[in-house]
């Protein structure tokens, strides 16, 4: 139970609407988008400024309580779950774009700004913000910084860390530091790069400087339909090997196609197909036709039964629809969904996909694959019903086997969703004791008391006993 004196103190800092401690109001904050993990926080604080954040963090630190930073709660790794009666510090009310510097293709914003809203605001200047996670209409840039988020178009443009050039950070003891800024070119350790992807364990970013890109003049979208998913995987490899660099290459498998076509999101994909590959090129109009034609020929050569090309914006949206609505449509098949996020080398895609289908058959589970094929970033979705305890066990076994399969293929356990709570026990699959020790050490550099989002990212049992960092 939270002390009323702390609640009063926080209300004095953030105003009475800025602090939630009513158990019903706190329900909303008990999980992120991975609903398997649920813990109700002791309270939620919603500061409006850096000063309010700094004072709230300092007050909570004085009371010795842990803090969990939170954006929109759309994360998929349990990273924003408040363990051990932690207090959530949410950035929802820090949602102002502080400035767009069009001549330098740069924006400065508060962390609670919604990803897609930044692109909308930048569009007036002919610019946009490149990283586009699937949740971009609801997720915040602050959350993207914490998770180093990706998205379909990261194939060509790279992930969040390439675009974050400066940060103002409130450290776990309430100190405010500025790192990078005005282009992130200053000599010295790349603290901005280190902070991006730290999953809320190093502090709370209260001001973010990002770089923007010019809106591409033109876009070409293709949809290739395959009878075998391995052929779609091969098409991806061949397009990349041939020297093309599409903006995005996304595959959805047969199970997902059928889920989408049975739902209100029906996109007109053939339901007897085993894979649909969406390919998108962007750039100057003059170069796109040649690229699209070369990609079309590669798809046909690797076994595509048909390739559709969008002629206008409406057709483009239709080709993307099956991919974008895949997660929503799966709700029709099963009440629960476990989204995985492994990345494998692109050339390993066909064999890993075969392995995943063997594992799902062995455990009698339905696995639907939707993934960023160009990056080798897989999202096998295991469909299940958590009320069935025996099925839940099979899900856990299959999930672990899939993870192991991807690591053995030269891959990693998470490409863009983060480790959070969900994957921290898989960290030992890819890192040894020295690497994990170094990560504990770097966490303590920022957060010596381990009060900022404790219990995430690193497996508890790997925690070194002695404090590794001198003050």
């Amino acid at each position: 139970m939270i002390q009323q004196s702390l609640v009063r103190e926080l209300r004095a800092i953030c105003g009475s609407y800025g602090v939630l401690d009513d158990p019903d109001a706190l329900l909303v904050y008990e999980s992120d988008a991975l609903t398997a993990y649920r813990h109700r926080p002791a309270a939620v604080v919603l500061p409006r400024t850096t000063r309010e954040t700094r004072e709230s963090v300092a007050a909570i630190a004085r009371h010795g309580l842990p803090i969990v930073p939170r954006g929109a709660g759309t994360g998929l790794s349990g990273g924003a779950v408040a363990l051990n009666d932690a207090i959530v510090v949410g950035t929802a009310r820090m949602n102002r774009i502080l400035g767009i510097d069009a001549p330098n293709r740069r924006a400065v914003l508060q962390p609670g700004v919604i990803n897609a809203e930044l692109s909308v605001a930048a569009r007036r200047h002919g610019l946009y913000y490149a990283p586009d996670p699937s949740s971009q209409t609801t997720c915040t840039i602050g959350g993207n910084v914490a998770e180093n988020s990706g998205g379909p178009h990261c194939l060509k443009y790279g992930v969040t860390s390439r675009y974050v050039t400066g940060l103002e950070v409130v450290l776990p003891d309430g100190e405010v530091i500025r790192i990078g800024g005005q282009g992130r070119d200053a000599p010295g350790y790349d603290l901005v790069g280190l902070f991006v992807g730290s999953e809320g364990c190093f502090g709370i970013a209260t001001e973010i400087e990002v770089s923007l890109l010019p809106v591409p003049e033109s876009v070409r979208t293709l949809l290739a339909i395959f009878d075998r998913i391995e052929d779609a995987g091969r098409a991806v490899s061949e397009i990349m090997s041939a020297g093309m660099l599409p903006a995005a290459m996304e595959i959805i498998d047969g199970a997902t196609i059928r889920a989408v076509e049975d739902s209100v999101f029906a996109a007109g994909y053939p339901t007897d197909a085993e894979a649909a590959l969406v390919i998108e090129f962007d750039g100057l109009e003059a170069g796109l036709k040649g690229d699209a034609e070369r990609a079309r020929r590669r798809c046909l050569a690797t076994g595509a039964r048909e390739v559709r090309t969008a002629q206008d914006e409406a057709e483009r949206a239709a080709l993307w629809k099956g991919r974008k609505k895949a997660f929503g449509a799966m709700g029709r098949i099963a009440p629960d969904l476990l989204v995985q996020d492994a990345t494998v080398p692109r050339t390993a895609l066909p064999s890993v996909l075969r392995g995943i289908s063997r594992i799902s058959a062995r455990h009698d589970l339905v696995v639907a694959n939707v993934f960023h094929a160009g990056d080798g970033n897989l999202h096998p979705n295991i469909l299940f019903d958590r009320r069935d305890a025996e099925e839940l066990e099979r899900v856990e076994r299959a999930s672990k086997e899939i993870m192991r399969l991807c690591v053995d293929a030269g891959g990693t356990i998470t490409g863009e969703h983060g480790v959070g709570l969900d994957k921290k026990h898989h960290m030992t699959l890819i890192y040894g004791p020295d690497e994990l020790n170094a990560m504990w050490g770097i966490r303590r550099v920022f957060d010596p008391g381990e009060t900022m989002n404790p219990g995430k990212v690193l497996p508890d049992e790997t925690q070194p006993v002695a404090a590794a960092v001198p003050a």
């Binding site: 500025r178 003059a286 040649g290 990345t343 080398p345 550099v445």
Partner: protein, 390 residues
């Protein structure tokens, strides 16, 4: 005196014994980044990383490569070219440097706008820290958010946290065509042209400017070079639009090998430098930064080159500058003015004296405590490049 360990285990042993004896070690590659910005102490024993130079993993269709740190970027490039791929690292010194040093210096050149900086394309590292531990960080896949991103701390740390022994990089398709449009004009005109290209949002891969010396001509005229990478109709279209935006035909249009040679020379421009001064600010302040750099160039009898897209202006001099007090005053004045624009001024000084008198990098970001704790986390005995500027 230098040591040339032939294996990672030997590097670990060397570091452990140096730590025990309290003798500093300076990791080096081919020594093409002179002075290392004051990060390397003058005293200390060089640890030569060049004996380890094997390619460990290269699957062309994955567009990634893993190789030992000591391999030269030139040697690497020869192998990549056979598969129509390349590693677009064009930071100064990269022409003659090693892969490990490219990661350790973490720089960027004009191609950053198109391909990202070196740090954006390093996927994984193997490093031996200052207490002799071998860490395998990151991986060899292009998207990876497993755990804290320690790769970022080591990239650009200039050997002060660990000796990089192996690097995994993201590769790119080699552009089908490489062309460069060269304009020889007055300096003010060159700056105006760079501004026109920036505002036009054209996908030009690089825009570099130089005083005559960059071209080897030595005259007062400036050079603006716009590089266009890619093939087919797209590249022709960009070329046409660049010419239209600049309102004039180029004095020279270089294609493929000639274009590459031009940019290679630009990359090697610093190789003979005794003093390098790097100024940078936001790209739309380029005119002002060039104006700030001019008195510095005059004081050291140096040449100026600019990377217009990234807002970087460099002054180099191949001779050790005379008139120290004047030079110190010119550098301090320039730093004050560029910092007032929100930018920075950093030095590479082979002799070291100017760096010590003026300061290597200027004011820090206010995160000094964190920087010091990171240094002592990975190099607790201060055995690696102990002078770590903030």
């Amino acid at each position: 005196m230098s040591a040339s360990p032939g294996s990672v285990a030997e590097i670990q042993a060397l570091i452990r014994s140096a730590a025990a004896a309290g003798t500093p070690l300076i990791p080096v590659g081919r020594r093409s980044w002179p002075g290392a910005g004051g990060w390397a102490p003058k005293e200390g024993r060089a640890l030569d990383t060049t004996p380890l130079k094997r390619i460990r993993h290269y699957e062309p269709a994955d567009l990634t490569i893993t190789a030992d740190a000591g391999i030269g970027l030139d040697e690497l490039d020869a192998g990549l070219a056979e598969n129509g791929q390349w590693l677009p690292i064009d930071s100064p010194g990269a022409g003659s440097g090693t892969l490990g040093a490219a990661a350790a210096t973490g720089g960027f050149g004009p191609l950053r706008q198109r391909y990202g900086a070196t740090r954006d394309n390093v996927l994984g590292l193997e490093v031996v820290t200052g207490d002799g531990r071998l860490l395998r960080l990151g991986g060899r896949v292009v998207k990876n958010v497993a755990g804290y991103d320690l790769v970022r701390v080591f990239v650009g740390s200039r050997g002060s946290l660990g000796v990089i022994t192996r690097v995994s990089m993201r590769l790119f398709p080699r552009p089908e065509e490489d062309r460069t449009l060269i304009y020889r004009v007055r300096a003010e005109r060159a700056l105006a042209m760079a501004t026109a290209l920036r505002r036009g949002h054209l996908p030009v891969a690089a825009v570099v400017l130089g005083s005559g010396g960059m071209e080897g001509g030595g005259g007062r005229a400036a050079t603006l070079a716009a590089r266009i990478l890619g093939g087919g109709r797209g590249a022709r279209e960009i070329t046409g639009r660049v010419v239209a935006a600049l309102g004039a035909d180029p004095d020279e249009a270089l294609r493929d090998e000639a274009s590459r040679r031009f940019h290679d020379r630009h990359r090697q421009w610093e190789d003979d430098a005794r003093l390098m001064v790097r100024l940078r600010a936001l790209p739309d302040r380029l005119d002002e930064v060039v104006a700030i750099a001019q008195p510095v160039a005059a004081a050291v009898a140096g040449e100026i080159a600019a990377d217009a897209r990234n807002g970087v202006v460099r002054v180099k001099t191949p001779a050790a500058p005379a008139g120290r007090d004047e030079v110190v005053a010119a550098l301090a004045g320039a730093r004050g003015r560029v910092e007032a624009l929100g930018g920075s001024l950093a030095l590479d000084d082979a002799a070291g004296e100017l760096g010590r008198r003026v300061g290597w990098v200027g004011r820090g970001g206010g995160a000094g405590g964190i920087v010091r704790r990171i240094k002592s986390l990975f190099d607790p005995h201060g055995v690696l490049a102990p002078r770590c500027p903030e």
